[in-house]
C-alpha cells in the first residue's frame, strides 16, 4: 500500500507541475498581436481557418466561401460551422491554445467589449477604421469598444410588428400602422390583441419572437424611460430596478398573467406557432419576412410599438467577424474580412441573399429591393418599416465588458416575471446579482 501510494502521489505531483508549467500563467492579458500588419495590396498565398455560426449547406455559407475563393484564388478558406450555443466554448478552447486557429471568427456584436477585454480580438482600428463609412453606423458602434474597432459587422437586425390580417379583420380591429406618426403603443397593442382573442377567435393575442431575451425586450424599458440597463463608467453600474424598468416589466408580466401572451413557449417555438395561424400579433426580427412570404398566411407588418408617452426604440445588432490576435495569417484574414464586409455590396450579403439584414449600406439597399420585399403589399410594408427603424429608432444593447453576465441574469429575471414573479422583486434580485457578478471588472 505504502509504495503504491508514494507512486500515486508522485504521479499526481508530476501532473500538477506539468499543468502549471504549460497551462498556467498566460503571457499577458489583453489583445495580443503587434498591430504592424496591413491589408495587403496583392493577395498572399495562405489557408485561413474560419469559425462561424452559419451552416455551410442549408444556409449557404459554402457558396459564400466559394465566391471568395474564386475572387481570391491564392487564399483557401477552411470554414468550420459551430452551433450558435457552443461558439463561446469553442472560442475559449481554441483561442486560448494560442495556435492561431481560427484566424477569423463570428462575434455576437454585444459581446465585442467582453471578448476584447478577454484578449480574444485583434485591434482593427488602424487597418479598417478608414473604411467603415460603407457600413451602418449602429453596427460599427456595436463593433467598437473604448474607441477601438475590434471587428467588422456583416449583418444587422431590427424588429417589426407582424399581424395576422385575417384574424384582425374577423375581430374588426384596425391593423397597426407603418406611419411613424401613427405608431401603435404597447398599451394599445395589448388591448387590441385581447380583442382579437375574444372577437376574432385567436388562441394567442401576442407573441414575442424571443420571449425573455434582452435583445427582444430592451425596447420596452428604453421606451419607458428606464434606459438600457447599466450606467456609470464603462456601463458597469447595473440600472435595472428604476421606475421605467419596473413599469415596463409590470406590463410585460401582465401580458402573460392576462393570457394575451402564452406562457412557456421558448424562442425556438414562436415562429412556428405564429405561422400556425391562430396568433394575432407577433413582434419578431426581420428574418421572419422570408418565412411569412413563403407561407400561406395573410399577413402585414407595422412599426415596432412605443411606450405610451415615451420615445420609440427598436433593438439592433447581429454578427460581426473578428480576427484572432494569435493568427499567423492576419493579412490573408484581413483580405477575407474586407471582402466579406466591405467590398461592393459586401461579399457576405451578396452571396447569401435575404438571409440577414446586411450591415453594409449598399447591401441593405439591394436587400430591400429583393422579391420578398417587393412581391407583396405586406413585403413592401416590411421594407418600409426596416428602412425607417434601422435609420431612426435603433438603440444598441448595453455596451459593457460584463455583457455576458448581464444577458444571462436579466434573461432569468424576464423569465421569472413572465412566469408570474413580482416584477419589482425580480428586478431588484437581478440588480443585486449583477452587482456581484460585475465585481470582477471593477
Amino acid at each position: 500500500m505504502k509504495r503504491s501510494t508514494t507512486i500515486g502521489v508522485g504521479l499526481v505531483l508530476g501532473a500538477v507541475l506539468t499543468t502549471s508549467a504549460c497551462g498556467g500563467g498566460a503571457d499577458s492579458a489583453g489583445g495580443g498581436g503587434d498591430g504592424t500588419w496591413t491589408i495587403p495590396a496583392s493577395d498572399p498565398t495562405a489557408t485561413i481557418d474560419v469559425v462561424g455560426i452559419v451552416d455551410p449547406v442549408s444556409e449557404g455559407m459554402d457558396e459564400v466561401v466559394a465566391a471568395f475563393e474564386a475572387d481570391h484564388p491564392t487564399i483557401d478558406v477552411n470554414y468550420q460551422y459551430v452551433p450558435f450555443d457552443d461558439l463561446n466554448s469553442v472560442l475559449d478552447s481554441r483561442i486560448t491554445s494560442k495556435t492561431g486557429d481560427p484566424d477569423l471568427f463570428w462575434v455576437d456584436q454585444p459581446r465585442v467589449p467582453a471578448l476584447a477585454a478577454r484578449g480574444y480580438l485583434e485591434d482593427l482600428t488602424a487597418q479598417f477604421s478608414p473604411h467603415t463609412g460603407a457600413l451602418q453606423e449602429a453596427t460599427v458602434a456595436a463593433s467598437t469598444y473604448q474607441d477601438k474597432l475590434w471587428s467588422l459587422p456583416i449583418s444587422n437586425s431590427t424588429q417589426l410588428l407582424y399581424y395576422n390580417l385575417d384574424l384582425l379583420e374577423a375581430a374588426g380591429v384596425e391593423p397597426p400602422s407603418t406611419d411613424p406618426a401613427e405608431r401603435i403603443t404597447w398599451q394599445q397593442l395589448k388591448e387590441d390583441a385581447a380583442t382579437v382573442q375574444s372577437e376574432g377567435g385567436a388562441a394567442n393575442g401576442l407573441l414575442l419572437g424571443q420571449p425573455n431575451r434582452y435583445y427582444q425586450l430592451e425596447p420596452l424599458p428604453v421606451s419607458a424611460g428606464g434606459g438600457v440597463g447599466a450606467a456609470g463608467e464603462d456601463n458597469l453600474t447595473p440600472a435595472v430596478d428604476n421606475e421605467g424598468w419596473v413599469e415596463s416589466m409590470t406590463y410585460y408580466g401582465s401580458l402573460f398573467a392576462d393570457g394575451v401572451h402564452p406562457r412557456g413557449i421558448p424562442a425556438e417555438q414562436t415562429n412556428a406557432t405564429f405561422l400556425a395561424g391562430d396568433t394575432a400579433y407577433m413582434v419578431e426580427g426581420n428574418w421572419m419576412v422570408g418565412k411569412l412570404a413563403d407561407s400561406d398566411l395573410n399577413w402585414g407588418a407595422a412599426l415596432n410599438p412605443v411606450w405610451e408617452g415615451g420615445e420609440p426604440a427598436t433593438p439592433n445588432g447581429s454578427w460581426s467577424v473578428g480576427i484572432n490576435p494569435f493568427s499567423q495569417d492576419k493579412e490573408a484574414a484581413a483580405v477575407f474580412l474586407k471582402w466579406l464586409a466591405l467590398d461592393g455590396e459586401s461579399g457576405y450579403a451578396e452571396h447569401r441573399p435575404y438571409a440577414e439584414l446586411p450591415a453594409n449600406l449598399a447591401g441593405l439597399e439591394a436587400y430591400l429591393a429583393g422579391p420578398a420585399f417587393t412581391g407583396s403589399e405586406a413585403g413592401q410594408q416590411a421594407a418600409e418599416v426596416i428602412a425607417h427603424e434601422t435609420a431612426n429608432t435603433s438603440v444598441p444593447r448595453v455596451s459593457t465588458v460584463g455583457y455576458i453576465e448581464f444577458e444571462e441574469i436579466i434573461g432569468r429575471a424576464f423569465s421569472d416575471i413572465a412566469n408570474g414573479s413580482d416584477p419589482q422583486g425580480a428586478l431588484e434580485g437581478a440588480q443585486q446579482e449583477l452587482v456581484n457578478a460585475w465585481q470582477q471588472y471593477q
Binding site: M1, G25, A26, N88, R118, G264, I404, R412, S415, A418
Partner: protein
C-alpha cells in the same frame, strides 16, 4: 494489507510465483489505470489547482495569481450558491432511490417469462439512446402549457399543469425527463444481476413455502447487493452531473428552482468564462459525490 481483503480472493500465491504475480498485476492493470490517470485524474488535478488561483483581469488569457481559498470564500458567501447546494442534495436524495426502485420494478417485470420480452425491454431502453439534446427539446414541446401532455391531463379531468413555468413544478418535471431517460438504462444492469441469481435459491425458497414478497426480500435483494451497489453509485454520479435538460428547458429557472450544482459549474465555466470559479464549483460537487458514494460503498459493502 495483504491479509485484510475479502476471502473470495484466492490465497496468496506461493513465493516463487510472486514475481510473476506482480508482473500480471502490472500488465493487466497499467493500461486502464494509465488511461484514466492521464485522461481524467491528471487534468482534474489541474482543475483543483486552478481553484486556488484567481485571475488578474477576465478570461482564460488573464494571468493567474495564487489566492488560497478565495474562490471557495466567494462561492460560499453567495446565498444563491448555498441554495443551489441544498437543492442539488435534495434533488439527488429524492431522485436516485426513486429511479432505482422503479428500474428494479421494471427489471423484475421484464425478467419474467413473457411473450415478446425483448421488445418490451428495448422499448424501455430506447429513451437513453436518444441524444439528450433531442429528447429535452421534445419534452419541452410536449410539456408546453398548451401542449399534448396538458391535453391528455385535461381529457382525464385533471386540468392543465404549468410544468416548467412554475417554481414548484419545474424541478419535478426535470426529474420526469431524467427518469424517462435513466430507468431503462439502469434496468439493463439490474436485469444482468437478476439473471445471475441461481434457480436453486428460488426453488429452495419455494420449498420453504416463502411467498413472492418474502422471496424478494430474503433472496433477491440480498443477492442483488453487488449490482445494486454499481447501479446506486453510477446513478448517483449520473444525476449529480446532469445539466443538459436544465440548460435547454429551464435555464435554471423559474426563480432558480432548477439551478443544480453541475449547471452552476457549467455556466460559470462555459457561459461566463470564469474557469477558476467554475472549477471550484465542480470540486465542491465532486467532494459531495465522493462523500455520498463512500457512504454507499459502506452500506452495501461485501461483508463475506
Amino acid at each position: 494489507m495483504t491479509t485484510t481483503t475479502a476471502p473470495d480472493a484466492p490465497a496468496t500465491a506461493p513465493g516463487r510465483r510472486r514475481g510473476r504475480g506482480l508482473a500480471t498485476i502490472v500488465v493487466f492493470l497499467a493500461p486502464a489505470v494509465l488511461a484514466i490517470l492521464l485522461l481524467r485524474v491528471v487534468p482534474f488535478v489541474g482543475a483543483i489547482r486552478s481553484t486556488l488561483f484567481t485571475r488578474e483581469g477576465v478570461g482564460l488569457l488573464a494571468e493567474e495569481r495564487f489566492s488560497g481559498l478565495a474562490n471557495y470564500v466567494t462561492l460560499f458567501s453567495d446565498e444563491l450558491f448555498r441554495e443551489t447546494l441544498v437543492r442539488t442534495l435534495v434533488f439527488n436524495l429524492v431522485l436516485n432511490p426513486l429511479q432505482i426502485a422503479l428500474a428494479m420494478v421494471v427489471a423484475l417485470l421484464l425478467t419474467q417469462r413473457l411473450p415478446a420480452r425483448g421488445l418490451w425491454r428495448t422499448a424501455v431502453f430506447i429513451p437513453c439512446t436518444i441524444p439528450l439534446v433531442g429528447s429535452s427539446i421534445a419534452w419541452g414541446v410536449a410539456l408546453r402549457p398548451d401542449g399534448p401532455a396538458n391535453g391528455i391531463l385535461s381529457a382525464l379531468g385533471i386540468g392543465p399543469q404549468p410544468f416548467f413555468t412554475s417554481p414548484s413544478q419545474a424541478l419535478v418535471s426535470i426529474m420526469v425527463v431524467a427518469s424517462w431517460v435513466g430507468i431503462g438504462y439502469w434496468m439493463l444492469f439490474l436485469i444482468a444481476g437478476l439473471n445471475d441469481i441461481g434457480e436453486e435459491f428460488y426453488e429452495a425458497a419455494a420449498l420453504d413455502g416463502a411467498g413472492r414478497w418474502r422471496t424478494f426480500w430474503s433472496i433477491t435483494l440480498p443477492m442483488m447487493r453487488r449490482p445494486l451497489l454499481f447501479v446506486l453509485v453510477a446513478d448517483t454520479v449520473a444525476n449529480f452531473v446532469l445539466f443538459v435538460p436544465v440548460q435547454l428547458l429551464t435555464n435554471g429557472g423559474p426563480e432558480n428552482s432548477t439551478t443544480l450544482l453541475m449547471f452552476d459549474a457549467y455556466r460559470r465555466t462555459y457561459t461566463y468564462s470564469t474557469p477558476n470559479l467554475g472549477a471550484t464549483s465542480t470540486v465542491v460537487l465532486t467532494l459531495i459525490m465522493l462523500l455520498i458514494v463512500a457512504v454507499q460503498f459502506r452500506l452495501l459493502r461485501d461483508r463475506d
